[in-house]
């Protein structure tokens, strides 16, 4: 029994990694006032970038860098459209998701002649042999560089947003960009930084996705970007809250997978909806009390009344 619990926890942690990374990124972006629906596309871009570079260079670490860079690139386009050109933030996010889906599929064709890639080099990991699920749980957390990195990044994001001077300015820009402007802060610069951070973090999350199955597959982000967005809302735009919400959603999907293994007589299709249903319930239940950053979703125009 305890055995199964450890296994479940391990699966939860593993499933949570891409969600948490994307959600941390989403928090940075939205705290600065930019809605980021493009998280889905950023994850996918990160996965693709990782797969291509890792495949081409044979090095997983280079692949990791490639994934982060790809995420940043996608985010940069979002920032360009929303902060500089001031297109509607939701439409920009949607457009980028479609673009990334098309570009990655096209790119996959170019590189591998088919939609799914060949297997790629993986990051070093400690994967002990044996049946002990406790060992599996421990090795899942301590033995995988990206999991450790994610935990560190959660703490770092929390410190960044709540304790640093940069975080103070980021939050100020998301609440009252006009005030920051009159104080001589660069609203555009701060918002760009928030969005690009979400690109880097999301790209890292995408790298995890690619390493997880050792290849790139068409549309492999499968809605995780949207779940991460929901986690940001549930977490009330706080990095720790968002991470906790991601763990909850990851637990739901781990539970879904485990039900199959446990041969529980619940239909697999219905169980698979658990994370999405939970998201809807959570978002509906908490929105009444959660207050988003006041300037979220509104492009900032100098001199606007």
């Amino acid at each position: 029994m305890l055995d199964q619990l450890f296994l479940l926890l391990a699966l939860t942690v593993l499933a949570a990694v891409p969600l948490v990374l994307a959600a941390l990124g989403g928090t940075c972006s939205e705290r600065s006032g930019v809605v980021n629906i493009a998280l889905e596309g950023i994850l996918l871009a990160g996965a693709f970038g990782t797969a291509v570079i890792a495949y081409a260079s044979g090095s997983a670490w280079l692949g990791l860098a490639g994934g982060i860079a790809a995420g940043v690139l996608a985010a940069a386009l979002h920032a360009l459209m929303t902060v500089t050109t001031k297109v509607d933030q939701i439409i920009s996010g949607l457009a980028i998701n479609i673009l990334v889906a098309g570009v990655t599929e096209y790119g996959a064709k170019l590189v591998w002649k088919e939609s799914a890639s060949r297997t790629i080099a993986l990051l070093p990991a400690w994967t002990p042999k044996g049946d002990s699920s406790l060992l599996f749980l421990i090795s899942s957390i301590l033995g995988r560089p990206l999991v450790l990195a994610t935990i560190l990044l959660v703490v770092a994001a929390w410190l960044l947003i709540t304790r640093t001077r940069y975080g103070l300015r980021l939050r100020a820009v998301g609440e009252n960009p006009a005030a920051c402007d009159t104080l001589g802060l660069s609203v555009g610069g701060l918002r760009y930084s928030g969005v690009l951070l979400s690109g880097g973090l999301g790209g890292l999350g995408g790298a995890w996705l690619a390493f997880d199955i050792a290849q790139f597959q068409h549309n492999m982000s499968a809605g995780k970007g949207f779940i991460a967005m929901a986690a940001v809302v549930c977490g009330k735009w706080h990095p720790l809250g968002a991470a906790a919400a991601c763990l909850l959603f990851a637990f739901a999907s781990a539970l879904a997978k485990s039900c199959e293994r446990w041969k529980v007589n619940v239909p697999s299709e219905l169980i698979s909806t658990l994370p999405y249903v939970l998201t809807m319930i959570a978002v509906a239940g908490l929105v009444g009390r959660a207050r988003p950053p006041a300037a979220l979703g509104t492009p900032y125009e100098k001199g606007a009344k």
Partner: protein, 499 residues
């Protein structure tokens, strides 16, 4: 006496309007210099140019003899100029200290925000200038007067020697105004130069050493406050003899068109906004509602119009109700609709059946409004957002009056309008009264209220605290009621000089 700021021959053109034309002003160090003028005279623009938010087409600026040219707010701050805006530029969820130091935050280890250092600095500053405040308080929990203190401390922190205050008393109670005047004089006595933009002559007389009058974008004259009078200043502001406003004849009010009893309602933030309001309006009378903004007037109007839930009783014929909302852009019109479409907003059922809209009738309707209200440009197919504020308001008024209502509610109807449009609004209110409608007129401009109302009720803290006959009460008494003092108390003396 050295010159702290000299602006010469400033000209600023916006498309279609000249905001400043050859304006010049010379401000001495350590003085309180008021800049007065009506709405649209160019006072704010001139100061925004000084602060670097707006760049002039022509003209020069010197601060303590050194020129300032094509500069940004950061340059102005570096030159010792600080500006406190009419609409506060604060970040509500952050603390007082965080708001004040934002942009020049003290740091630990290079990246961490040093909260303790920031709060200590604020305490020192507030003691130095006598501006009591708790640096750890969240700004959203602060009263309006305290929030203004935060703004003032913001500029003082950045070493401002020249402080521009843009209409600082618009949202203060008379008592808070007096406190501010004390602060202004204290700062001046400590060597600061204060530029006070205002259109309230009482403050000019009480606080300033010299006053510059602006009119139509030009600086008309600079006077020594000691040697002039409110009447002289007002005359130069308007440029013509201040006529006594036409007093409407005594009305004989008819039946009740509005009967409100025990009205209680919440504000958007969930706090209590109305606490048992009783109010009646009769046909053929104009009832003015005086009060500092934020004391429940907005909620009162919304409840009567059916836009806000409430408890208590409201007896009104909503089918014969017309409402000119205070928020023109977000409530009264759909900016992206054409004039024609806006002319039937709220009336669309009269111009349509379920599957068909009667465009011909709509066109006739807007055409008659354009003619009777002199809307410019007179093109019904233009989008509303292309019109000036005054013309937008004309369409709104034309539309609401076309209902031939029993009750007309006008909420800050002249806000943001030029003199001509404002006069049109006042005439419309009087004509409705003459037609036999009851008018509920909410305004923050006391002169307006007293000029047209038959009686004026005063709101404070979500209650009606008194009623006055506008021909028999002066603004000072009214102001006290607005601050929650009953009319039985004597007004406190106005303090002048340093305290």
């Amino acid at each position: 006496m050295s010159v702290a700021v000299r602006m010469s021959a400033i000209t600023k053109r916006y498309p279609g309007v000249v905001a400043n034309h050859n304006a010049s002003i010379s401000v001495n160090a350590g003085e309180v210099h008021a800049i007065v003028g009506e709405n649209g005279a160019g006072k704010s623009t001139l100061m925004k140019i000084l602060y670097g938010i707006v760049a002039p087409e022509e003209g020069t600026i010197e601060v303590r003899g050194a020129p300032l040219h094509r500069h940004s707010p950061a340059d102005a701050i570096a030159a010792g100029i600080g500006m406190v805006f009419q609409h506060f530029m604060l970040v509500p969820p952050l603390t007082v200290a965080e708001n004040i130091v934002l942009g020049t935050e003290p740091v630990k280890f290079g990246v961490l925000f040093d909260r303790d250092a920031a709060e200590a600095k604020i305490r020192d500053l507030s003691k130095q200038y006598g501006l009591e405040i708790d640096p750890a308080m969240r700004v959203e929990d602060c009263s309006v007067g305290l929030q203004q203190r935060v703004e003032i401390l913001k500029v003082l922190l950045r070493g401002a020697d020249v402080i521009i205050l843009d209409e600082p008393t618009a949202v203060l109670t008379p008592q808070e105004v007096d406190e501010l005047i004390v602060v202004i004089r204290r700062l001046a006595s400590q060597g600061k130069t204060i530029l006070l933009i205002t259109h309230k002559l009482r403050e000019v007389m009480a606080a300033s050493d010299r006053v510059t009058i602006m009119r139509h974008g030009e600086t008309v004259e600079t006077l020594e406050t000691k040697s002039t009078s409110p009447g002289e200043i007002a005359q130069k502001m308007i440029g013509r003899e201040l006529d006594a406003p036409p007093r409407p004849g005594r009305s004989t009010p008819g039946e009740l068109v509005l009967d409100v009893r025990g009205l209680t309602a919440q504000s958007d933030r969930g706090t209590g906004a109305l606490h048992g309001v009783d109010l009646q309006v009769r046909a053929g009378e104009i009832v003015g509602v005086a009060g500092i903004e934020g004391n429940g007037q907005t909620e009162l109007v919304e409840c009567i119009a059916g836009l806000r839930p409430s408890t208590g009783t409201i007896v009104v014929d909503r089918a014969a109700l017309a409402h000119i909302p205070e928020d023109r852009h977000k409530r009264a019109v759909v900016l992206d609709f054409t004039l024609e479409e806006n002319a039937v907003l709220g009336l669309q059922r009269n111009f349509s059946s379920p599957l068909w809209m009667n465009f011909r009738a709509m066109r006739e309707h807007i055409d008659s409004i354009i003619t009777s209200c002199d809307v410019r440009p007179p093109d019904a197919s233009l989008a509303m957002k292309g019109l000036s504020g005054g013309n937008q308001q004309k369409v709104v008024i034309g539309r609401e009056l076309s209902r031939k209502p029993k009750l007309l509610i006008a909420c800050h109807p002249t806000r943001g309008l030029d003199v001509g449009a404002g006069e049109f609004v006042m005439r419309s209110l009087l004509s409705e009264r003459a037609r036999g409608a009851g008018v509920l007129f909410v305004s923050a401009e006391l002169p307006e209220l007293m000029a047209v109302s038959d009686r004026v009720v005063v709101m404070f803290g979500g209650r009606i605290v008194g009623e006055v006959d506008p021909t028999k009460v002066d603004e000072r008494q009214l102001g006290l009621m607005m601050a929650g003092h009953g009319s039985s108390e004597a007004p406190p003396p106005l303090r002048e000089g340093g305290a």
